[in-house]
């Protein structure tokens, strides 16, 4: 099957605007503007069934439909803050097929009649932001960006905006705060960004991969798009494969059908590097619960809903593969360290919960934890669930609860301590030093 998204694999150098134009480039935007009203474009995207690729899987056309028609100006924010551990797909799109991303953003901007698009790109993608700026200038020179685009009377600018090393800014309202020149603290909802977004104006925030689907949908139609994937999850998805596999990388496959973890890990990924069996799979980076590598899990066709019966989710399809050599308590420690570092600090349950979980996992790693500490981990996780403004606090409980549920023996293997649940003398000393330093 030819790729819809990772088209550079079929058409080398498609990042060049001339090559892109020679392969139906900007045809979707042309058709949207020449043949459809903005509302019709929204209807087509609704009919396509396209769902947000950032992780939540919310229907894209429905999201656009929430934008009020009579409030101006309106904005589009492109979420290129890709920071979930194990995710590196948007980067490949922006590096190798940037005009498809820009065209998608323009189709979205036309549909809601936005006057500006801000691409919020993580700061660590420094060079990619420069390349995007170059692509923007090339597209502007051809009349796709700027005043009176393709003679439509509609004008729109595209700008890049670099983040600066904060995972939370991938959360859409934190992204808006950051764009407004503030600390990236997620906003309370409602109101939702569709009505009160950037600078208080209606704003659509879409992931890079989501937008990259739009040129195909507008060029070939919703029906053609639906030939790929399933009824509930149409289209193709980029699966990011990382960890203990021979061939890590991005793989674009249709949702459902023959797309299974087994195919990804063993056929495309070439199995584990060590040759050892797969022990666990994190299907959604650090944010989704871990799955044990059972036959049932490995053979489930992948779509947005299919991992729910196993207590996990597909998220942004960042598959981290762990072989049998891994102690899952160690893996959970890595993930908790991540969430503790990335909690924005706004909500107490998340800020303090991730901090105390980290302390407990460090105790576990030192061989000083006992069963009481593992119970405390579960209690802390229960106190965090559903108690924060954004989902980070909830996500941070997944590594804890998932690994304890499926790999409890890994915790037992590293338990030490005297069974009292009290801190060790070393730890008490460290806490006293820390308190004195404060």
């Amino acid at each position: 099957m030819a790729h819809i998204l990772l088209r550079e694999l079929d058409i080398p150098n498609i990042k060049d605007i001339d090559v892109y134009l020679a392969h139906e480039g900007y045809q979707g935007l042309r058709k949207a503007i020449a043949e459809h009203t903005p509302d019709e474009v929204i209807d087509i995207v609704k009919a396509s069934g396209l769902r947000g690729r950032g992780g939540a899987g919310f229907p894209t056309g429905v999201k656009w439909g929430f934008v009020p028609k009579d409030v101006f100006p309106k904005y589009v924010a492109v979420n290129a803050d890709e920071s979930e551990p194990g995710t590196f797909k948007d980067r490949q799109l922006m590096e190798n097929n940037p005009h498809q991303v820009l065209e998608g953003a323009l189709i979205c901007a036309y549909a809601i009649q936005a006057e500006a698009v801000y691409i919020y790109i993580r700061g660590e993608y420094w060079d990619i932001a420069d390349w995007l700026d170059e692509a923007i200038e090339k597209a502007r020179a051809r009349g796709f960006i700027g005043e009176n685009i393709l003679g439509s009377g509609w004008s729109c600018e595209i700008y890049t905006h670099r983040g600066a090393g904060a995972y939370i800014c991938g959360e859409e309202t934190a992204l808006l705060e950051s764009l407004e020149g503030k600390r990236g603290h997620p906003r309370l909802r409602p109101p939702f960004p569709a009505s009160v977004g950037l600078y208080g104006k209606p704003t659509v925030i879409n992931n890079v991969e989501t937008l990259a689907n739009l040129p195909y949908i507008l060029d070939k139609g919703a029906e053609a798009y639906r030939q790929f994937g399933t009824e509930g999850s149409p289209g193709t998805k980029i699966f990011c494969l990382s960890g203990h596999v021979n061939n890590p990388g991005n793989y674009e496959l249709p949702f459902g059908g023959e797309t299974t973890l087994r195919k990804l890990i063993f056929e495309l990924g070439g199995g584990t590097r060590s040759g050892k069996p797969v022990k666990g799979i994190l299907p959604a980076g650090a944010s989704g619960a871990i799955l044990p590598a059972t036959d049932e899990v490995l053979d489930t066709p992948l779509d947005y809903e299919s991992l729910r019966p196993f207590g996990s989710s597909l998220g942004s399809a960042s598959l981290i593969i762990l072989d049998e050599s891994v102690n899952m308590a160690w893996a959970a420690n890595k993930m908790i360290h991540f969430f503790s570092h990335e909690s924005c600090g706004q909500c107490t349950p998340c800020r303090e919960g991730t901090y105390w979980l980290r302390r407990l996992y460090e105790r576990l790693e030192r061989g000083e934890a006992d069963l009481y500490d593992v119970e405390t981990m579960k209690n802390i996780a229960a106190q965090m669930l559903g108690k924060s403004i954004c989902a980070l606090g909830d996500f941070a409980t997944n590594p804890v609860l998932g690994t304890i549920q499926h790999f409890g023996e890994d915790y037992e293997a590293v338990l030490g301590g005297d069974g009292s649940g009290d801190a060790s003398p070393d730890e008490k000393e460290a806490a006293a030093t820390e308190a004195a330093a404060d």
Partner: protein
């Protein structure tokens, strides 16, 4: 020398992008960091005045984001990702090697001021681990040999551009 004297064109470009000039705070902080090596108190004051915000707000932003530095760091900032996917492919051992080679711990700067090493969270290169960034530019599929070579090359570059520097 104020930022507006040395980087006027860049500053105006960023100011022109947003309807509210406060939004330019992040790009302007990067400009300050490029100019001075880190974000100085004077630069924060200047940015606050340019954007019509309180310096407290500027400091709050600097403190929130990991890629801004309000203290001097090495000429070359080495980011090594040791997050889970990279750790599964040897990133922790790789980081340890780089630190030993430089004689410092993660978070520290070499005494000659050339290198700062930081172990960072996921930087989106899990499929090419171990991965390192030098001043935010990717060096992927690294190994110890490549890192040694890169460090030597960067050292030589410093000597070439700053011949007066004694070691």
């Amino acid at each position: 020398m104020a930022l507006l004297d040395t980087r006027k064109e860049d500053i105006e470009h960023h100011l022109s992008k947003y309807p509210d000039k406060r939004s330019a705070i992040m790009p302007l902080l990067y400009i300050a960091q490029e100019e001075y090596g880190y974000i100085t108190e004077e630069a924060m004051q200047e940015i606050a005045e340019l954007l019509d915000v309180d310096i407290t707000h500027v400091k709050g932003v600097v403190g929130f984001y990991g890629m801004y530095y309000d203290k001097p760091k090495g000429k070359y900032l080495l980011y090594i990702c040791t997050d889970l996917p990279c750790a599964l492919r040897g990133a922790e051992e790789f980081s340890q090697h780089v630190c030993e080679k430089l004689g410092i711990q993660p978070g520290e700067t070499t005494p000659d001021g050339i290198f700062t090493v930081e172990n960072v969270m996921c930087i989106g290169a899990c499929h090419r681990a171990p991965v390192m960034q030098v001043n935010f530019h990717f060096h992927e599929n690294m190994d110890e040999e490549k890192a040694d070579q890169l460090i030597e090359d960067l050292r030589r570059e410093v000597k070439a551009t700053e011949p007066y520097r004694s070691e």
